[in-house]
Subunit: 227 residues, 2 copies
């Protein structure tokens, strides 16, 4: 099968780096979130803009990583990478000599870090809290790898790195969510040692249903009704 | 029915206040978390200590409320309360004249704020993040009211107050979890405008399964296996 025009073929050794993101990564993060919404059949919920992502994910001054909303970027490089102690979270070498990889979107996802790198995925995580443990944990809101780069161990690399960081920080748990129809993902997570909790359901108050509570109007209405 | 010894009977007007907690509330928070674990049939997961709660929930200096882990306390007072602009989140008056309330644990839950107040519940919440909205939200880890004080509108008051604060802060969502067998809670939450999401499942990596990732040993092992 010939590669589509503008696509890039990767073969031989390719170096993967999971690194802290910064505001220069926002355009790619925005498009990756949209791809994730498409994969999850949830584009009707997609309302992110580059401006909102910049202001909410990259405030100034930046809090230390993993103490607030933390964005990580997965970059792939055709040449060896020198880890940067300030931003590299994990790195590894992929051997693609047995099965070269065609990335039709490589040019569109050129990494802002340059050097022929491309961006292939991202993680958004932030601290959560377990009262039963009386300890913080990390919640991974998203772990996403673009389609051509899947099934190469990169999702495992990303989740392992987040789990490793949580364990090193003395946190009690790493949690994330999965759609119950995504059996591949469930098998993968269980293989990494995670429990998929059968009984808990997420409750969500959003949009107009949330705005109703502004100024505690609902509470006032409730009080009135109870009189 | 005679009230048990040491119990306190509340009747007529009682004033409820939801307020920011401080380190003086830790002993009550610790016992309330244990009561919640009993209610959820999850005492095997209970590992909280007062020392851990103090260090993780009340660091010094304290970050602004709702920007990090935030503990709220529900106090009930036999006399009218003057709201404190620095700590009061919501307040209301309960009319118990039609059905007086016996609290067998009132003495044990005397509020550290004094004035004959007792502590009847708590909330732990913290910011989460929606990539689809590109906005922070609030996640309520726990919303708990001690048994004798239930079905008096206090859970609604607490959740309304959290939702109100989130809406006023421009947040996009309030989320929390419920056990799928807790039909009373599900009906109550839906009545407040929440969606209970049927498809999402929580994945959790904890204990020994999490410690495995310390120092990225798992990642190294995986790399080895793939060679």
């Amino acid at each position: 099968m010939a590669a589509p025009a503008n696509s890039t073929t990767f073969s031989g050794d390719v170096w993967a780096e999971l690194r802290l993101a910064d505001a220069r990564d926002v355009p790619h993060i925005h498009r990756l979130i949209h791809q994730m919404a498409e994969f999850e059949l949830l584009t009707d919920l997609f309302a992110a803009t580059e401006e909102l992502l910049t202001s909410t994910l990259f405030p100034s001054p930046a809090p230390p990583p993993f103490t607030s909303f933390t964005a990580l970027i997965l970059d792939l490089s055709p040449s060896p990478l020198v880890p940067d102690s300030a931003s590299t979270i994990a790195s590894r070498c992929l051997d693609l000599s047995a099965s070269p990889l065609v990335d039709p979107e490589a040019a569109a996802f050129a990494s802002p870090r340059g050097g022929g790198r491309i961006t292939a995925g991202f993680v958004i995580c932030f601290p959560n809290y377990s009262t039963f443990l009386a300890k913080p944990g990390l919640y991974a809101e998203d772990i996403f790898v673009r389609a051509p780069w899947r099934r190469r161990g990169l999702g495992r690399m990303m989740l392992s790195a987040v789990a490793g960081r949580a364990a090193e920080l003395g946190m009690g748990r790493v949690e994330w969510c999965v759609l119950d129809w995504n059996k591949n993902a469930i098998n993968f997570y269980e293989g990494m040692g995670a429990d998929v909790l059968p009984q808990w359901r997420i409750c969500r108050l959003t949009g107009a249903a949330l705005d109703k509570y502004k100024g505690n109007q609902e509470e006032a209405a409730d009080r009135k009704a109870a009189e």
